[in-house]
Subunit: 258 residues, 4 copies
């Protein structure tokens, strides 16, 4: 549905060179760049697709950010999981409305907001209190208050244990997920899915060994490669460079206790 | 939450060689294979992760199918969009709860059920009435009645026009999406997302040319490659073969009318 | 230069479905298939590109095999290194005419014939005498007697030591190349190149650790992916399936003794 | 064989950050960097693997450049074909000693020197006289006088015709290879190989259409992807970025005249 830009909302600005800027609209504020500035009030009350101009003539097209746009531009400390992997995690972890999910480490909240938007109830574990706070703030900023009601982040180390029980999914983005496997087994319902994102293949091999020693089946490890194309008139070819690696995804289903 | 297998539910059976079978549980029915049979009643009332045995000793582990499991095993005619692409589409088309989506062609409903589960309201166009019926049946079978209330499929050719207006997303899996671009432009709200899945690069180039002639921005074409790994003890390497191609994804944002 | 097919030569036959057959032409012999037979004499004296017919009308186009054609069809026991990797090895190991190369294990000789054709002098190590014999036979069959004069294969275990000295290159296709690193260091001239082909990443990591403990620099590990395309009229797209993995190539330069 | 660095030779310098510099050694000359300088005479008479120091303590390791090292650092105007593709071309075009090859456009000579080193006789076509001159100079510089005796480059447009006859291979790196197909057919012997390197898929599709209209068989199009790995202690993973595209390789065998 068409809604006009309102104060407090995010807008994604696109300049003539394809650079992107994420701003929060505020009455009386202005956006400054090397090419001059414009008043946020020029956008407030307009629809998406509006182009604003600075005094020196630079043009910025404004749209609302998508979740991938937001994730790549939001305040963040640790490396976020890339959108290419977020989409795959939704499918591999089979996130459904009402799913009881434990997530650790939460980081800046990119994965949290992806799963929350898909309807999950997410209990996060994050050892750094500042990260936990930022994740909550990012979730609220992008998804609003309803999502926060399905989200909690505790400043705890999931290596020490999981308080929840009868979980549908455990989704991990931390260095030693094999430390979590034994308590995950106790906290998950039969048929539940365990998924971990890991940067190196050594970590992945250690995780797979641990999973094989516990009641998990259908374990699979994979990597997602995304190749963008240049498609302009007579020039159709893959772009010259790409991200060759972010992380390995490993998922398995819990079938215990045996 | 732990729920026991009930009649009418789907179960995914896994044999000792990793083969998968999707069944619908029914009291009094049995599952037959070359290795003998077992009664569905042996599973009904059990939890996921239960192993049943045939008279001749073959073992089948039963879990509930995930959405990707179901998509690959459900009744289908046309080629379905693979899970690797479904996950990417959720992110690229930025599907959110309540999003007003037009989808065409619907095929067997794999993409419909992916977007419905993510909370969208989906109006489908499908020229083959038998496909439309099967898509509805697959959606109901996997997601239940609530999802059907957000889903309609009309037996119409979207090349002839789009009835809906003020759409948030238009998502296409049909041979000539460029025929849809002119009416999509009229049916979408400013800021809405257009996405098409196409098997060849020729079709993709034609679509991109058409998008460039209409008020769309941020057009991008990409392909998703998924590489699985063999991780067993000292043998850690990519699997020897992979799917090298399914389709090209193209997405853009509508910013008109200008 | 145009030369006519002669007895004793190899011919690659291509049928109407794209299947390939490698034969050795002999006067009086015939080629039999499920679609009938033709006499080798029908090809002898003809030029490449000739099509012969069986009595039942099946057609076979005959050309001389390229090195990649030969490698994929020659008598072989162990897995051969694929042409995609052979080409890369020529560049990474920087094979030049007259280069003094030690190669182990020789297997069926695919890599030997690739390096010999590029002008190298190759001393092979192969623990299985039958493999050594077949490698020599394949080299002679494809490259002729001159190449044999630059080729020797000894039935020895290179883990026990390298007899040669002042080597330009050491190229390995065997399970534990790290066992070779210490004596390779003694057998190579400063600036020489060490290269190993390994199926798993674990083996590769062990090799890299060993190289790092010896006087080698510029160590690099990589994998080569080859994606074929379907290009026919309006249908231009990658083929649907591909080889996702053969092996990892690791190369480094020796700079000792220090 | 061990040879000591001599005046007139190339040396590849490697600094402590992995940067590479290609120099031509000359008595009395010096190498200058932001980190001071050293005299070429410090290297002349030394063996590969020698480390020299500038007055301010920066260290440079010196080895002879490999062909890939040289190609990436030699004087060049147009884009060169990358080593990953050069290796593949040697195999796909099945370059053998004495092969009569026509190559166009020659550019800076990277492909010429690769095929010459493999023993081919190369007749080059290059419309820009300055490129032709640089290609000859690069070939002589890296391969020496013997290779030049097998190499000629004429300043001619191969679209206008091919003077040679009875060719074994025609290898093209120019924008419209389909213009060459008709005369290539007349200049090649039966069984000869045609190969073209093209940056876009549109060009590739046009070439394939033209090949299909002429007496060529076994046409194949492919792309080579090379993924490097980071292998250091406990951190084993693909590098984060890679070259996603250089060009498409298309090859076919000539079987005419029909």
């Amino acid at each position: 549905m068409t809604r006009l830009f309102a104060p407090g909302e995010r807008a994604l600005l696109l300049d003539s060179k394809g650079r992107r800027y994420l701003i929060t609209l505020a009455e009386g504020a202005s956006f400054h760049s090397h090419a001059g500035f414009f008043a946020h009030d020029d956008l407030i009350g307009c629809q998406e697709g509006t182009t604003v101009r600075t005094g020196s003539g630079a043009r910025y097209l404004a749209v609302r950010p998508t979740l991938p746009d937001f994730v790549l531009k939001m305040p963040r400390g640790a490396q976020v999981i890339y959108p290419k992997d977020l989409g795959q995690i939704l499918l591999l972890a089979d996130i459904f409305p009402g799913a009881r999910v434990v997530e650790a480490g939460v980081g800046s909240g990119a994965l949290s907001m992806t799963m929350l938007r898909a309807g999950a109830q997410v209990s996060g574990y994050e050892i750094r209190a500042d990260f936990a706070e930022r994740a909550r703030s990012n979730v609220e900023s992008f998804l609003g208050a309803e999502a926060l009601s399905r989200y909690s982040v505790r400043a705890a180390d999931i290596y020490d244990g999981i308080e929840e029980t009868d979980l549908d999914r455990v989704v991990l983005d931390l260095p030693e997920p094999w430390q979590v496997v034994p308590h995950a087994a106790g906290a998950m319902r039969p048929g539940a899915i365990f998924l971990a994102y890991l940067p190196t293949i050594n970590q992945t091999a250690t995780l797979r060994e641990t999973l094989a020693e516990h009641p998990f089946v259908l374990a699979e490890t994979l990597e997602v490669l995304l190749r963008t194309w240049h498609v302009e008139g007579r020039s159709v070819r893959p772009d010259h460079r790409m991200v060759a690696h972010t992380g390995f995804l490993t998922h398995a289903r819990y079938i215990g206790p045996v």
